[in-house]
Amino acid sequence: MSVTIDARGLSCPQPVLLTLNEIRNGNDPQILVLVDTDTSKENVIRAAASQGCEVNVEPSVSGEYRIAIQKDK
């Protein structure tokens, strides 16, 4: 199962807060985070990596990014 966090349009530190909250408290092993700025992308990647997660980024349409996070089991 995977859960999607739509962090588009949210300013610092909301995307990271939502992502970390899901990594620590969520049940789904896979998390998809949608962001629309490079700053948010970098911050979410950094935060997820610090939790030992595997992170993959796919550029999506019109400057948005889809960040796929695989939780460490």
Binding site: R8, G9, L10, S11, C12, P13, Q14, V16, L17, L18, L20, D36, T37, D38, T39, E42, N43, I45, R46, A47, S50, V57, P59, S62, G63
Partner: protein, 363 residues
């Protein structure tokens, strides 16, 4: 990841912090006021004075550093395809957060950058300001944990993203057609200080170049002093904090080399030693920065990327400078302004209200 932004790495943010610290110290050597090589709050206040929003005669000058910050970030954002015009995240609240952030900063007499530069110059009063900054940011993180946020921004027309950069181009144009005339307090529409910190400045071209360079690098690295402390408190994350410490260390060493280091509480340049005032002023500023999502410098860099909400915060700070001096809220080396304490109380009531009102469990 297709390409890597080297400035978003740990080394990158440290290099940018070192660069800002050294440049600030050099700007002071070349004429900027004491322990004020760069101060985003003070310089926006000087700009407010230059265009006549307040008549505090000693702090009126069109600071090219601020213009450079926005335009440098704009150039970086365009080169790296990060210019994304966006707006609509509770702009009017951000405007008032900017106003009270400026008032708090002017009770202390500096933004977070200057708090670091003051400490790096030996001004021990800055310790109380920095402690206040940490306290204010800590209160802000409590709201963030409760789900505080100002809502989503939306993509907007490019013209909207250009508003603040264009204003800065116009400010630069005004400074070029109405340059400072030594001894005269006005040229054309611009006011110029003939005494006090507003008179002290590095040559225009050097200030502008320094601003452009810092704006460019800070946009790439996302340098933010509030974020540094917030991330440390909220996530135990040291990324931005390493840049924060690099700025302090670089400015300290540069000041030693340039004989700009004078240790003590007394007779520090553009400072007062009322510890509680320094603490409370920076607490209010820190809370407002946290609720708005960035330190004053970061808001300028975001404005350069097309963030209209950040631009509104900047305009709020410039407005706040007008209130601060017209209503005697700002401090001076002689102590607090006549109504400084009242302004702090109102500021705290406002920012705590916003913190509670905008806290929702769900986004």
């Amino acid at each position: 990841m297709q390409y890597r932004n080297i400035f978003a790495t740990r080394q990158g943010i440290i290099i940018v912090g070192l660069f800002i610290g050294i440049v600030a110290s050099v700007l002071q050597l070349l004429g900027n006021p004491g322990n004020m090589g760069i101060c985003v709050a003070c310089f926006e206040r000087d700009i407010a004075g230059a265009v006549g929003f307040h008549q505090a005669k000693v702090v009126q000058y069109m600071r090219p550093e601020i213009i450079g910050f926005v335009l440098g970030a704009l150039i970086a954002a365009y080169i790296f395809k990060e210019f994304k015009p966006r707006s609509g995240s509770a702009p009017v609240i951000r405007y008032f957060l900017g106003i009270f952030a400026m008032i708090g900063a002017l009770v202390f007499l500096g933004c977070p950058w200057r708090a670091l530069l003051r400490l790096a110059g030996g001004d021990l009063n800055a310790i109380f300001g920095l402690a206040g900054l940490v306290f204010g940011i800590w209160i802000g993180t409590l709201f963030l944990k409760r789900g505080y946020n100002l809502g989503r921004s939306q993509p907007v027309n490019t013209a909207a993203g250009w508003m603040l950069p264009v204003l800065m181009v116009i400010f630069l144009f005004l400074l070029l057609i109405y340059p400072e005339i030594p001894g005269q307090d006005k040229n054309g529409v611009l006011f110029f200080s003939v005494s006090g910190p507003g008179m002290k400045h590095a040559p225009v071209i050097i200030s502008l170049a320094a601003g452009l360079g810092i704006g460019f690098l800070a946009q790439r690295s996302r340098f933010c002093t509030m974020g540094a402390l917030r991330d440390l408190i909220l996530f135990k994350q040291f990324h931005l904090f390493s840049g924060f410490m690099a700025l302090l260390l670089a400015a300290f060493i540069s000041n030693l080399l340039f004989n700009q280091f004078v240790l003590g509480f007394e007779n520090q340049p553009v400072a007062h030693n009322l510890h509680l005032g320094n603490f409370a002023g920076m607490s209010l500023a820190g809370l407002c920065f946290t609720l708005a999502g960035g330190c004053p410098g970061r808001h300028l860099f975001l404005s350069g990327e097309g963030d209209g909400d950040a631009a509104i915060f900047v305009l709020g700070m410039i407005t706040g400078a007008g209130f601060a001096h017209n209503f005697s809220l700002a401090s001076s080396p002689n102590g607090l302004g006549q109504h400084g304490i009242a302004a702090l109380v109102i500021g705290f009531i406002f920012s705590l209200f916003i913190g509670f009102a905008m806290s929702r469990k769900k986004v």
